[in-house]
């Protein structure tokens, strides 16, 4: 059978230069902040210094009197909102518009330090800033709660007075959601275990760390039609949310997606787009550009991902079979409900085929920013806990940690934690890829005066499907253009164009990919959930086949035979009837005019057949025993891509996700003072890895075809971030002979562990 593994591709699997690359290396690519319009104003947001306070009054008069100031807006200027859900992400997700509006500009309470309160538009960014200082806000500070466990206790300061306990509807609570996954007999499972490991882990909030500040340029001239230029992952999400907040029909908002400087999930929602539109409306329709500062975006305007407390108990037989697992996960939601805790509950144990398990998850409000998505949201926290416990179980069984994982591996037909059975997956294959790597086969050399350790961990991510649209236009010169609605955040123009080129028998560079605005392409869900190469790739594939269908009809006309007698083989039309020489697209293109006119292929998909993704990470570390500083010496990552369309960008996703995971493991964390102010709201003190902190990251692409996709593609964007924190913790634990349970493993924290060990 011809499968994606056996088929000889001409374009897929090669490494052409990306189509948008030139613009990006000569400085011509337009990111959101690079747009300007005549008469443009600059917007800024006033943000709360308090982590929890009632807003008693806002006086904007002085600000409005400052020369150059054209508009000042507050929450009251949004259209009135309710809590009735607004659907997005193809109906698979919903937002609560009242929460959304209240998070962007506070309604009557500020819920975290950095919460937006009012916004200004002025003729220069400096004047807008000066105007912020003239807005008078009277606050009544309220008791606050920052700690996750404190927030869950009865009697804690209440953040949202409308939230009630599920079991006692008259009692207020900060627990916004409870999740549970349960199967088998957990008690009996632990009774059958020879070895039981139980640990509590803790992680802090971390930021996505994209380099480009969130931006928006809004134009709302008062004819009821609004336009936003913005660097977003989800143009259609921006459209529905902006329309909702402004009280406009969805079709009246056009979103023009600019190039985007990283997002990692945080730019799937709106942060300032509706504010830019609101300011434009109040400033007589003048364009308003807004660019957040680094401090603003870190303090809260854009949402980090959750800190968490993770309790995991697992039991195994002495032969190395996991027989029971119990997990208790609490995640910080921030000031509004919606942490990814359920995804943690679902993903953490999914690599393993466990008969008896119980997972409980809690979504908990604290006076910190509303969390937003971050690459495989929720999964990294959970995997950190589970993979550390699994490592200890393997040790106690005297087994190689990868053999232990393979013995307990989920495979095709295993019922996942959420319930549905896995299709063909590549978990065992990624474990084996690491086992067979040069890195794993090379023993770790010890050096005097240092501690060295090696750790492995694995990770699972569900991946996304959802909706995509694609249009393929055939040009008279025999080239084509591909129009999609998927913002290109890391090479997806290239990979989707390569799919079209493969089907049409063209070179990659003969297909020009374009990302269209929301008026110019059918509905397309955001660039997230590792879905673009998979789902937009599927739409591109189908649109190309729509072109092929039409080309076969045109060839049939040329040959004066019936379309059924034309085949499309290896990028050529072939006559099954007479011996006419095959016609390529290049040859057919000039004849389109006389055979019926232009050819455009279209496809709209709601993609099913999503292929789950697994990754494994191997890391060697060296620790200075005196300063407790950890240095990563070597790192290898294996990931199942299904089919790597452009291997360089698959490797890039693997390397980038791994390094984000290494940063999370070692130094990244939100540090709050007792008043709830984020202390390290800068790239200086929020310590992301620099290139001097890292070795080369060795990628091993594993290809276990996804049976749900014609080319075998799975998503590759997210899962690589999941294993590294646990891999590093396992390596450090091995090196220092003591179990690491808290992230990040920064020098001051590790020093405490070492000091305790020394006594």
């Amino acid at each position: 059978m011809d499968t994606p593994q056996t088929h000889q591709f001409k374009v897929i699997g090669t490494r052409p230069v990306r189509h948008d690359g030139l613009d990006k290396v000569i400085g011509r690519a337009k990111y959101g902040a690079d747009y300007s319009f005549p008469g443009m104003l600059y917007g800024k947001v006033l943000r709360s210094p308090y982590a929890h306070a009632r807003i008693k009054s806002i006086n904007t008069e002085k600000a409005l009197r400052l020369p150059g100031v054209k508009a000042v807006v507050t929450h009251a200027d949004f259209a009135p909102q309710t809590t009735a859900p607004v659907y997005r992400m193809g109906g698979e997700a919903a937002v609560n518009p009242l929460y959304l509006a209240s998070n962007i500009l506070a309604k009557d309470k500020v819920l975290y330090a950095g919460h937006g309160v009012a916004a200004v538009a002025a003729t220069s960014p400096h004047i807008a800033e000066e105007a912020l200082a003239l807005i008078e806000v009277e606050y009544e500070p309220l008791p606050l709660v920052l700690d996750l466990l404190e927030a869950m206790k009865p009697g804690a300061a209440i953040i949202n007075p409308d939230l009630r306990r599920k079991d006692k509807p008259d009692e207020q609570t900060n627990i916004a959601g409870e999740f549970q996954f349960k199967r088998g007999d957990i008690e009996a499972g632990f009774k059958a275990a020879d070895i039981i490991v139980e640990r509590e882990f803790r992680t802090e909030m971390v930021h996505q760390g994209y380099i480009e500040p969130p931006n928006a340029l809004g134009i709302f001239p008062g004819d009821g039609h609004a336009t936003v230029y913005t660097s977003t992952q989800g143009p259609f999400d921006v459209r529905i949310m902006s329309a909702t907040l402004l009280g406009l029909p969805e079709g009246n908002v056009k979103v023009v997606p600019a190039e985007i400087g990283g997002g990692f999930g945080a730019k799937l929602t709106v942060h300032i787009e509706p504010v830019a539109l609101l300011l434009s409306k109040h400033a007589g329709g003048r364009p308003v550009k807004m660019v957040m500062t680094r401090t603003e975006m870190m303090r809260g305007a854009t949402g980090p991902t959750s800190g968490s407390i993770l309790r995991v108990k697992m039991g195994a037989t002495k032969e190395g079979r996991i027989v029971a697992a119990k997990a208790w996960f609490a995640y910080e939601a921030g000031a509004f409900p919606g942490s990814p805790v359920w995804l943690g509950c679902f993903t953490g144990l999914s690599p393993y085929d466990i008969e008896n398990f119980l997972v409980d998850g809690y979504d908990v409000l604290v006076n910190k920013p509303k969390t937003s998505s971050y690459r495989a949201p929720g999964a990294t926290n959970a995997a950190f806990a589970v993979e550390c416990v699994v490592d200890e179980l393997a040790n106690r069984c005297g087994m190689d940690p990868l053999d232990f994982r393979i013995r307990n591996a989920s495979r095709e037909g295993t019922q996942s934690v959420m319930g549905p059975k896995f299709p063909r997956i590549g978990y065992i294959e990624v474990c084996e890829a690491i086992k067979n790597s040069q890195h794993y086969r090379t023993p770790l050399a010890q050096v005097p005066g240092k501690y060295r350790g090696r750790g492995v961990a694995t990770g699972f991510w569900i991946n996304g499907g959802m909706q995509s649209s694609a249009i393929v236009n055939v040009h008279a010169d025999g080239t084509a253009s591909l129009v999609t609605g998927s913002v290109d955040i890391g090479g997806s123009r290239a990979s989707t164009a390569m799919v079209v080129a493969e089907v049409l028998g063209l070179r990659a560079e003969d297909v020009r990919p374009a990302v269209a605005d929301t008026d110019s392409i059918g509905y397309t869900d955001g660039t997230g959930g590792s879905r673009v190469a998979f789902a937009t790739g599927l739409a591109a594939y189908q649109a190309a086949h729509d072109v092929v269908r039409q080309l076969k009809e045109r060839a049939a006309k040329v040959w004066e035979i019936s379309p059924e007698d034309v085949a499309w083989v290896d990028g050529k039309a072939i006559s099954k009837k007479n011996g006419a020489p095959p016609l390529t697209l290049k040859e057919l293109a000039p004849r389109l005019t006389r055979t019926g006119g232009p050819v455009t292929g279209r496809a709209n998909v709601y993609a099913t057949g999503v292929g789950p993704a697994f990754a494994a990470c191997l890391v060697d570390v060296e620790i200075d025993p005196e300063t407790a500083k950890v240095q990563v010496l070597r790192c290898t990552v294996a990931q199942d891509a299904g089919k790597a369309i452009h291997p360089s960008y698959v490797e890039g996703q693997m390397q980038g996700g791994t390094v984000q995971g290494l940063g999370w493991a070692l130094n990244e964390e939100y540090v709050y003072d007792e008043k709830g102010t984020l202390r390290n709201a800068s790239f200086l003190d929020y310590r992301m890895p620099t290139c001097l902190d890292l070795p080369m990251i060795e990628p091993v692409i594993v290809e276990v075809a996804n049976p749900g996709h014609p080319l075998g593609v799975r998503g590759v964007g997210e899962v690589s971030i999941v294993p590294p924190p646990a891999a590093v913790a396992n390596a450090v634990s091995m090196a220092v002979g003591s179990r690491i349970t808290d992230l990040p493993i920064s020098p001051p924290r590790l020093f405490k562990v070492l000091a305790a060990r020394r006594g």
């Binding site: 659907y87 698979e92 919903a94 996954f181 949310m241 969390t371 549905p420």
Partner: protein
């Protein structure tokens, strides 16, 4: 007949049963039939004429893009799963 797997926090509506076999040709019909057997269940998963915004449904391993309208087969396995949350 299709088999419906009951989310653990809703098993109180099904007398603790982890899964129930129910007739029906669509997810919506299955849910209606399940509600006859276990009154109150439908209200936990349906709001108006669609699934609750916090839920998605999976049929035979894939997210059912049709929601309640999704067709099911005699041998289908139906799971209710959380929808992608947050905003």
């Amino acid at each position: 007949m299709p088999r419906v797997f009951i989310p653990s926090l809703l098993r109180k509506y099904t007398g603790g049963q982890e899964s129930v076999v129910v007739p029906g040709r669509t997810v919506g019909e299955v849910v209606r039939n399940l509600d006859q057997q276990f009154p109150g269940f439908r209200n936990q998963v349906v709001e108006g004429d669609d699934l609750k915004s916090s839920l998605a449904v999976s049929v035979d391993g894939d997210i059912a893009v049709g929601g309640l309208l999704e067709q099911v087969r005699e041998s289908s396995e139906i799971h209710f799963v959380p929808a992608i949350g947050g905003g």
